[in-house]
Amino acid sequence: MTQTYSRLRAGLGALAHKPYIWGVLGIVALLIVNVTRDPGYLQISVNPANGYLAGNLLDILRESAPIVMISVGMCLVVATSGIDLSVGSVMAVSGAVAMEFLQAASAPQSTMSAAMALLLALTVSSLLGLVNGVLVAYVRLQPFITTLITMLAGRGLAKVITGGQNTSASSDGLAWIANGRVLGFPVVVIIAIALALLIGYLVRRSALGMMIEAIGINETASRMAGIKPHGLLITVYLLSGLLAGVAGVFSTATVMTVDVSNTGYLLELDAILAVVIGGTALSGGKFSLGGAVVGALLITTLDKTVVFLGVPSAATPAFKAVVIIVICLAQSSRVRALFRDRRGPVRMKERVA
């Protein structure tokens, strides 16, 4: 009995030291707010007609899938002390490409067309990511200005692709990805989790993650240590573009319409926010993919809660801005010094990075 208790305590202690503990606590707090409004908020029911699981929690998971995707990409970019502001626009481009292709396809309902649309959308978004990567790695442009250009030009590109229209199409394949279920569980969630796990496995079970962090700490030093930053930087931006493409397909295929001005609009902040909530500092050099996923879940929960409490959804950016300001304040050395002085000895480790 005491052993179980001490093990539980040790487990909780380890969790408390995880960078994303605040994210987890935030989700719990928001869910508690919702439960006080509606005691049945957390209920999960099984639809007897088709065996689908249904409930607010599943809605949150489903809606978080695109944000999880862009947050994972953003997390790796931020780890190199870069930033990718273009993810929202790349989502729109990806959706526009998929919808335009399907609308023009001769047999839009076939699996082949769906696969082709997916492939085309992901290729175009990877290309946009590649452009970012080349400009950052070889031309040495500042990441935020590079991706600011692709962010605004990307939105224009999406509009040019659809001719300014909000193109609709129909495809059973893509609709299944967005709305389908496997064993009652949403397909988007499964894909998102699988991709996040795969990337996490790749970067953490190899030296890739450490090399990415090394670039973020000091690029020159990393090069002297034998790391080739150019290739890694390009890979990271390309991956971010690719994942944004996946996110774009997710969010357009739900309604099978691309809204060129609203698909992915302002989502770059969501991704940055998710990454920061997850304990990845914007100065780079350290990252936590798990934290980014927790952050993405927190943001979706926040979105849902704000709407649930009856605030117009257009106003949610203001709440997110407040959250990000608070987090940036908490990360700043001035505020930290304030707390450190009260807590005693200075921890030397912190400023090394």
Partner: protein, 353 residues
């Protein structure tokens, strides 16, 4: 703001004459100062665009067209001036478009609620000041990266504007604010070919002149340049680094408020989605005008030319009719990219030489 005033007017005149002379003798300028190359290039592009437009479509070098170019882009000139201050110190202000939206929506709602229109105008500018102050304090006191701090204020302003209203707010037809856009005919040419100068254009030109004096003839201006060139040196020289860094964001925010006044007066209405992507236009105007994105070198008169280049380009796209208007942001983004690359080239050459 302390001026080194012995003979301010004469100094201003000679320096203006210097600038004009150096603009005229472009080749000598290049030899003297490699950093002036982008400004010279901007001037060249402007002349080429005017010539091309006149030859291809006609009616560009006409009083009526020139008047409307200034009338329709007074807001952009004002935004570009504010952005120049921030970029000179090595920062960036991504919030200007959203601040215009918040400030104009709030202003129109106040005026319609029966508040004295001039107080409403002051409130509009003050809203910009407050948002700028917030960003400045975040950047300076809490070491938040400029683009993150202003991204946060960008979303905050957009969210607050959406909280106020999500539908177009129309000024009452007899509102005194509309007077700011009254078209005063200075010279009555044949047909519609009049030289028209509304107060809004006078405000924009005055902003440029005041900014020129502040940047080139006051300690504050010199400190801004020094801060952008090397923060450490500026600090060692005992310059008021902290105060100046907060001040540039306050200036940029306040000018965004002023831009909102002129824009709202011209349009007669305001909406929460106003100003999406304007930060790109303002940044592009500044960068095309020859201000280094890394700070420390640039000209506010160049930003005026940059703003006019963008304005003229948009005009030519409309005149042409075959280029889809959606692609404007792609072209602006492309131009910004080219000029940033040009700057890198100039810097690289200067380091070698």
């Amino acid at each position: 703001m302390s001026t080194t005033t012995q003979q301010p007017q004469r100094r201003l005149l000679t320096s203006l004459a210097d600038t004009i002379r150096s603009f005229v003798s472009g080749s000598r300028l290049l030899r003297l100062n490699a950093a002036a190359m982008p400004t010279a290039a901007a001037l060249l592009i402007f002349v080429v665009l005017v010539t091309f437009g006149q030859v291809q479509y006609g009616g560009i070098v006409e009083l009526g067209t020139i008047s409307s170019l200034f009338i329709n882009n007074a807001y952009l000139i004002i935004l570009a001036v504010g952005m120049t201050f921030v970029i000179l110190t090595g920062g960036i202000d991504l919030s200007v478009g959203s601040v215009v939206a918040l400030s104009s929506v709030a202003g129109v709602m106040l005026a319609n609620a029966g508040v004295n229109p001039w107080i409403a105008v002051l409130v509009m500018i003050a809203i910009g000041t407050v948002m700028g102050l917030l960003a400045g304090v975040l950047v300076d006191r809490f070491d938040v990266q400029p683009f993150i701090a202003t991204l946060a204020t960008m979303f905050l302003a957009r969210g607050l504007a959406s909280m106020l209203s999500t539908t177009p707010e129309r000024l009452e037809a007899d509102s005194a604010i509309l007077g700011i856009a009254t078209r005063l005919t200075i010279y009555d040419g044949p047909g519609v070919n009049d030289l028209v100068v509304p107060p809004s254009v006078i405000i924009a030109i005055l902003t440029v002149v005041v900014a020129y004096v502040v940047l080139h003839r006051t300690r504050t201006g010199r400190t801004a340049y020094a801060l952008g060139a090397s923060e450490q040196s500026a600090r060692l020289m005992g310059l008021p680094v902290a105060r100046t860094r907060v001040l540039v964001y306050v200036i940029s925010g306040s000018l965004a408020g002023l831009a909102a006044v002129t824009y709202t007066a011209r349009l007669g209405s305001a909406q929460n989605v106003t100003g999406i992507g304007w930060e790109l236009n303002a940044i592009a105007a500044v960068v095309i005008g020859g201000t280094l994105l890394t700070g420390g070198a640039g000209y506010v008169l160049g930003s005026l030319i940059g703003a006019l280049v963008i304005a003229l380009m948009n005009l030519l796209i409309i005149r042409d009719g075959s280029i889809p208007p959606e692609s404007t942001t792609i072209i602006t983004g492309g131009m910004l990219l080219v000029f940033v690359l040009l700057q890198r080239l100039v810097i690289a050459r200067r380091r070698k030489g």
